[in-house]
Subunit: 328 residues, 2 copies
């Protein structure tokens, strides 16, 4: 089988690619493990660090029909659609957000529709689709009332995934991701970038700015478990998604203050002292509109698994991305 | 002020136009009644029957940017966006539905954005945005899980209305309309067309086919009250829509069996005998996925008013569209 990852040069895309190459198979539409012959990593910049002969690195503009025609064909039975403009960037550049988060997604689905082979499409949605007055615990079927352009664009993506699937054009499955923490690498343009930065930078003895208040509550998932959930969603049978295509993934509910306390527990006061508190009203407004927890009944009953607690998340980051060594 | 009605040759568009011409004013952004100097009726076919000098009838393709540039300018302070592909047609022709219900709506909003004058935009959404497992009584914030392409497209329209408004590009207000009954004129391509036909045709001594079962529950609003609600929504202050741009309009909950009983009460057995029961699985599936009632608290607290009961709806139709005379 041929697998496509859009956003394949991104941090989640690359990590998913490595995990898929190690596993070597995915379940096919008949529920059998099938060998991955080709893994296409598509992004606007080349995905680096891959020497495996199964990998094909392709660059291009995902909103360009020709680019999509070049990477999707009837052998492409599995697509992980991770390409997106992140939250703060989509808020700052409305047109770019619409172009990538809505138009490119629709073009990808239309490309599949034209080919007619109904591939499995795993789409990543977000906590950001929720907003406004929320119940204490958000449910899988809580109404979407997003208060950011990113959230609106992801909600439109969910609706399109659902209707293209209902029409039989694709076999979509959508995952609402908690905020992913701890991400390795550099800060990005997500409003939630700090949710990784305030742990990652101090563990490297670097300073990090926290733009929100200590009592801001986040709903978090580690990269390690996020990748497992993406593959798990792919492998579920289509009948799982008959009533709704969306699953709210498991998460851990913590305040930013509790996150920094955990940092101290794991890496000591020197790490905690690297966090500088400098509020940013825009980021506070966007992140504060997201739910701090949601009900996990559907996710758990389907078999999705998150993290035990935030300390496990920090320790997973140290193990996976710091060779097990704290540097502060 | 200049007012634009898209779908201005449609039955609701024409009726709204007549009502606006009779009233002569709408509230402006400052909350004051302001004279309507120009009323543009835009549609794919000409709106007929208007001789009032304030009316400008324009035809064109609403998905064409040039057509929109020709009808919207900075004097256009009020837009009633009624143009749409109806439910059964959007289900049969997916591309046409997306083109008009999504792309043209976005283009209209983008045209306003470029002009920069933030007009009031009244958008009509539908019962069809709801679907799947629904609570006994749908709430204003029940999650949208539409089971038709029309419903998905209207839900996308709601999200765009909300985000374009939040960004200050338009001042949108969205009304979720119950099924409108009793419509005058011919049957149309809405799945709910029968909800008017089974009353209208028998009252004219003509036969009508009912494609759904007697126990199918509908949520109805008369054309008369729908028009009042459209104007009322326009005139509300922008602050009304701070938390959500959408309002579920009041309706009357009746089964199709009860509708035909009421027909008998108003027009006798001869009328009832004109209804032929012939089930249609597609229509039953689409209409059966819609809510049969929803909570009216928000609508009523804002001051929206529906109909007293289904008998009032039938009698309003006879008064408004049959010159008060039953013809069976």
């Amino acid at each position: 089988m041929k697998v496509l990852i859009t956003g394949g040069a991104g941090f989640l895309g690359k990590r998913l690619a490595k995990r898929l190459l190690a596993r070597g198979t995915l379940k096919n539409a008949q529920g059998q493990e099938e060998r991955i012959d080709e893994l296409v990593l598509f992004d606007v910049v080349p995905a680096e660090g891959f020497t495996d002969p199964r990998v094909k690195v392709v660059t291009g503009d995902i909103a360009d029909p020709n680019a999509l025609n070049a990477i999707v064909d009837t052998r492409t039975t599995s697509i992980f659609h991770l390409a997106a403009i992140v939250s703060s960037q989509a808020e700052a550049d409305f047109d770019l957000g619409m172009r990538i988060n809505v138009d490119a997604l629709r073009l990808l689905f239309e490309t599949c529709r034209r080919l007619g082979h109904c591939p499995r499409v795993v789409f990543t949605s977000s906590v950001a689709v929720f907003g406004g007055k929320l119940p204490e615990v958000v449910q899988n079927d809580t109404a979407l009332n997003p208060k950011s352009s990113y959230g609106v664009q992801k909600a439109i993506g969910e609706l399109l995934l659902s209707d293209f699937s209902r029409k039989g054009f694709i076999d979509g499955r959508g995952l609402r991701l908690p905020t992913i923490s701890v991400r390795p690498g550099k800060p990005n343009k997500a409003a939630s970038s700090f949710a990784s930065g305030i742990i990652r930078e101090p563990l490297h003895a670097e300073e990090s700015v926290c733009p929100v208040t200590r009592d801001t509550r986040l709903w978090l998932l580690s990269p390690r478990q996020a990748i497992e959930c993406l593959m798990f969603a792919h492998d579920l049978g289509s009948e799982t998604f008959a009533e709704t295509r969306m699953v709210n993934l498991p998460g851990v509910s913590v305040t930013v203050g509790e996150m920094v306390e955990t940092l101290g527990k794991v890496a000591g006061k020197a790490a905690v002292d690297k966090v500088r508190w400098e509020s940013d009203a825009t980021i506070q407004r966007i992140v504060g509109s997201w739910p701090g927890r949601w009900d996990m009944t559907r996710a758990h009953s389907l078999g999705f698994r998150g993290d035990a607690d935030f300390e496990s998340i920090v320790r997973a980051f140290i193990a996976d991305d710091m060779d097990g060594k704290v540097r502060v």
